[in-house]
Amino acid sequence: MSVSYTAVGWNRQKKRYDFAIAGFCSLYLLLFIGLTAVTNPDYTFETALIRSTSTLAFLLLHVILAIGPLCRLNSKFLPLLYNRRHLGVTMFFIALIHGGFSLFQFHSLGNVNPFVSLFSSNTQYHSLSQFPFQALGFFALIILLLMAASSHDFWLHNLTPEVWKTLHMLVYIAYLLIVLHVMTGVLQFETHPVFVVLLGAGAAVLVTLHLLAGSREIEKDNARFDTVEEGFHYVCETSDILPNRAKIFCIGVERIAVYRSEDRLYAIHNVCKHQGGPLGEGKIIDGCITCPWHGYQYLPNNGQSPPPFTEKVSTYDIRISGTKVWLHPTPYPEGTERPGVYIGNSI
């Protein structure tokens, strides 16, 4: 959280994660290059490098795009989300090798600047079969560059979270550009259907996951809490909320997390100050509400991060009558102390 920035926020879990990424990538590249060297009579190292890095980067991009919806569907995938940005930066560097090497290979031999050559050597923009597909890859690479360059939390704070979020949503445009890059490019040299099938399967998996996760969210948000007394909405029974866990309720437009910590219930805004993670999907660790995405912490009774941290979220009033939990959807200013409510022997 924001005390003083470090270059890379490594801890044991992140180191293991990065180790796994590095191991997988090296193994993939070695196997790919080794196997083509042995089996393909036209093998050249340059081509093998271009193709192994391109396919690896594209594969990683699929994993990156699948992590979000997978976590919404099942919390078992949360460890993958925890360090997704390192996966993203790795993917950018691998794609950079592919793009850089292609530029070098196909555009640096003449006396024209390679970037100029990239856009001017083939201008058949009206032709599908001869389309200058490398330009598409170039624009995708620019998007990946912007994302990798702004991946440190410093950028989240200083570009503002809205701009940052928008910038990082461009990953979907990058994905689309790469799909087109591959379709218009590879299909110019390769006629084997396996490429089309793989490409289609990848896209189908991603679209399905996003649709599933999205419809799940909409269902939750559309749940209605119409029983209202003195501004308090009836939301659930006390026994519905497990110890050290929360349930999320969407009243109006606000998502509110109701947490059970020891023998009390507390209500805070569901949106983490870091990158908007769903606080209500986290748990209480060491007495603090802990965001499931990257572990920012907040005290349940006032929504403040424990000192020396300075993040704050809104708090809400809550009450219990019998076994029923009632929630007031009007937020208090961020960081306002709220006593919560004693569950007692209502369960």
Binding site: V8, F119, L146, F154
Partner: protein
């Protein structure tokens, strides 16, 4: 066509070079003024944001100017 591309390329290059020139000033003075979290931060951190500063320098410069005016 080639001319247009050359112009776009040159403009982009100038933009990035300006960002590179802005970097040392920003690292020495601006960064702690616009973001208290950068106080006492490591040199590794300052190095790792270099590509971002070169790309997003107008946003940082704007923030810095606004804060200095206050």
């Amino acid at each position: 066509m080639e001319q247009i591309i050359t112009i776009v390329f040159t403009v982009a290059l100038v933009y990035l070079l300006l960002g590179l020139a802005f970097y040392p000033l920003f690292i020495i003075k601006g960064i702690t003024q616009i973001d208290p979290g950068a106080k006492g931060s490591s040199w590794g951190f300052r190095l790792i944001i270099l590509p971002g500063v070169v790309l997003f320098w107008p946003a940082l410069m704007r923030k810095w100017i606004v804060i200095r005016k206050k």
